[in-house]
């Protein structure tokens, strides 16, 4: 039997070295992240909102949509997945259900932030945060569910205190330590703006740090972040950006040149791992399963006497 991903993640975090966490948004992106060799992946709320809904990350996505997407990805991969739990989709009671649902869906951990709901992307202006007392209650509630259901589930408290009106690193550190006190396993200080700030937060917060290298936060390399003491570095929307650019270029070319573009694309992709798309997505494996569990001669005859790609 496979080890629970929560336990695998805890063991991995106990080893030295920073973990890079690309953001998945559906099963295929998750499978490609796994194949590339990443030790963990995120489920990016930003990317799910953009891909599934076609809308920006302003708290439109629901718990149900995130949990369903989590389930698709965890069913298709075995790398620990850290889910984006936004604000927990309401107050402390909603956050408890959020924790329970993500654990049941197979996530290895999640982060919940101290923004006012509906939230918005951590690197877009206009954020507001809830009072520290309310946020502490939320994390204590999540920790309670974690301890009951699976103590290995990683509870990450994200604070957006740096970027709000009147925000400061002092406030980030004050809140972070209060959240750790309430039961958070790791702190995600969103929107730090200098290397100095990252260094200070790593020194003064009593828990490992999750860093999001995007937007207003400096693009420090892996080695530097490791030296500063960061445990996990997120690259939340990189995969979404790549897929978007790929589809944009394809659609633009195809709209302009029609089949000439489609043929050129196939030719250029001929030797690419995704070039033989039917094989890439797993038809050969289906045929093997059919021959194992369906009447075999029937399956063989079916493939022999019909047209198309023969796996």
């Amino acid at each position: 039997m496979r080890k629970r991903t929560t336990t695998a993640l805890r063991e991995r975090l106990a080893e030295p070295g920073i973990l890079v966490k690309p953001g998945a948004f559906n099963a295929m992106s998750g499978r490609i992240i796994e194949a590339a060799g990443f030790p963990i992946m995120g489920l990016s709320g930003y990317s799910v909102s953009a891909s599934l809904l076609g809308k920006p990350d302003v708290g439109l996505i629901t718990l149900d949509e995130m949990v369903t997407t989590t389930r698709y990805i965890t069913a298709a991969t075995s790398v620990p997945l850290l889910a984006d739990g936004d604000t927990g989709y309401g107050n402390a009671i909603n956050a408890m259900r959020t924790t329970q649902e993500f654990i049941r869906a197979g996530a290895a951990g999640m982060h919940i932030e101290d923004q006012v709901a509906p939230k918005r992307c951590g690197h877009v202006a206009g954020k507001e945060i809830i009072p520290i007392e309310e946020a502490v209650g939320k994390y204590a509630a999540c920790a309670h569910v974690r301890d009951e259901m699976d103590p290995d589930f990683l509870l990450i408290a994200r604070t957006d205190a740096r970027g709000v009106e009147g925000g400061s690193v002092d406030e980030v550190i004050r809140r972070a330590n209060a959240y750790v006190e309430a039961g958070a396993d790791m702190i995600f200080p969103e929107g730090l703006i200098t290397e100095e700030e990252v260094a200070r937060v790593c020194r003064e917060v009593n828990a490992p740090i999750h860093y999001n290298r995007t937007g207003v936060s400096p693009f420090l390399n892996k080695q530097r972040l490791e030296e500063l003491g960061v445990a996990i570095v997120s690259n939340a929307s990189g995969a979404l950006r790549a897929a978007t650019r790929g589809m944009w270029d394809y659609m633009e070319g195809f709209a302009a040149e029609d089949v000439a573009y489609a043929l050129r694309f196939l030719e250029e992709t001929k030797d690419h791992p995704t070039g033989n798309m039917h094989e890439f997505v797993g038809f050969p494996e289906i045929r093997k399963l059919e021959e194992t569990y369906l009447p075999k001669e029937d399956v063989i005859a079916r493939y022999a006497n019909s047209l198309g790609y023969k796996p």
Binding site: V20, N26, A27, M28, R31, I32, I33, E34, A35, A36, G37, A50, S51, L52, L53, G54, K55, A75, A76, S78, K222, N235, G238, A239, L240, A242, A243, T244, R245, G246, M247, W248, D249, Y250, M251, F254, A255, V259, A262, L263, F265, T269, P273, T274, M277, H278, F280, V281, G282, E285, I286, K288, A301, R302, N305, S306, L307, G308, Y309, K310
Partner: protein, 285 residues
């Protein structure tokens, strides 16, 4: 989500789709698999799009198109896509997810989710991608009954919705061009507005199909079917042209390249080993 829509007041999706199908121009409907891919196709200027069952299965589930996707998943994705674009969407309804009674519910759900049209095929359930071997057909009588039932529901809910009958009669076990033609005629008689003869293998077959039918046809330029130019298809009299998984291919290639080159994995894995790892992960399930 009115108010969050990009455009102003617009023609109903079904009416817009009907105008295209009943018009004289050959039009292309690229396939999409989520709201983002749909929005990108719309921005590129296409007048209609399709929701591809193949691309939804592989993107959402990470699994091949062998009838694993459920009606619920199809309807949910249909709603996301229809909420995100102003152009009409043709929805791939596979076999209708069961028998004729299931078909009736399927048509109801897909119309209520905002589709401009939908297509139902005559394969045995669970189905598979039209360009992968191993397909089997239900009897022509059973399939025509499905189209009749779908037509009834469509007329009750919104007569403008385009009902397209797909026949896999060309490439399935025991299939032939003649089988495909006989089925196309029967489905048009049963109420289909347009026929999608999947897997034709030559321009001559396309021409013969167009000549024999009183309704227009949709052509899927992939796999065993020749990659003819739009001008050639226009010449042959094809009305609707699919490009089901082009966007999905582009997205997969881009993801593969981006993640393979990204800083992060403890050790760089050679492309071939990555592919083996990818396929291996699939076979563990």
């Amino acid at each position: 989500m009115s108010g969050l829509q990009n455009g102003a007041a617009k023609v109903k999706a079904s009416t817009a789709m009907r105008r295209l199908v009943e018009g004289t121009e050959t039009f292309v409907r690229p396939g999409c698999h989520d709201a983002l891919s749909a929005r990108i196709a719309e921005a590129a200027g296409f007048k209609a799009i399709a929701m591809s069952g193949y691309a939804v299965s592989v993107s959402l589930l990470g699994k091949p198109d062998v009838g694993l996707i459920t009606l619920t998943e199809t309807v949910r994705m249909c709603r996301y896509i229809c909420n995100a674009v102003d152009i009409p969407v043709m929805v791939d309804a596979d076999t209708g997810y069961g028998n004729v009674i299931n078909v009736m519910r399927t048509v109801d759900e897909i119309i209520n989710a905002g589709a401009g049209g939908l297509f139902i095929e005559d394969q045995v359930d669970p189905k598979r991608c039209g360009h992968v071997a191993g397909k089997r057909l239900v009897s022509i009588e059973e399939a025509a009954g499905k189209i009749r039932a779908a037509d009834k529901v469509r007329r009750e809910l919104d007569p403008d919705v385009i009902l397209m009958a797909r026949t896999d009669g060309r490439g399935a076990m025991g299939g032939s061009f003649q089988e495909s033609l006989d089925r196309a005629k029967a489905y048009a008689d049963a109420g289909a507005d347009i026929i999608f003869p999947e897997g034709l293998t030559s321009a001559d077959e396309i021409a013969a199909m167009v000549d024999a039918l009183d309704v227009p046809i949709s052509y899927n330029r992939t796999g065993v079917s020749p990659m003819l130019s739009l001008a050639e298809l226009e010449q042959l009299g094809v009305r609707m042209v699919a490009n089901a998984i082009g966007a999905f291919r582009a997205s997969s290639r881009a993801l593969w390249d981006h993640l393979g080159e990204a800083e992060g994995p403890p050790a760089q894995i050679a492309p071939q080993a990555r592919l083996e790892r990818f396929l291996q992960a699939e076979s563990q399930e």
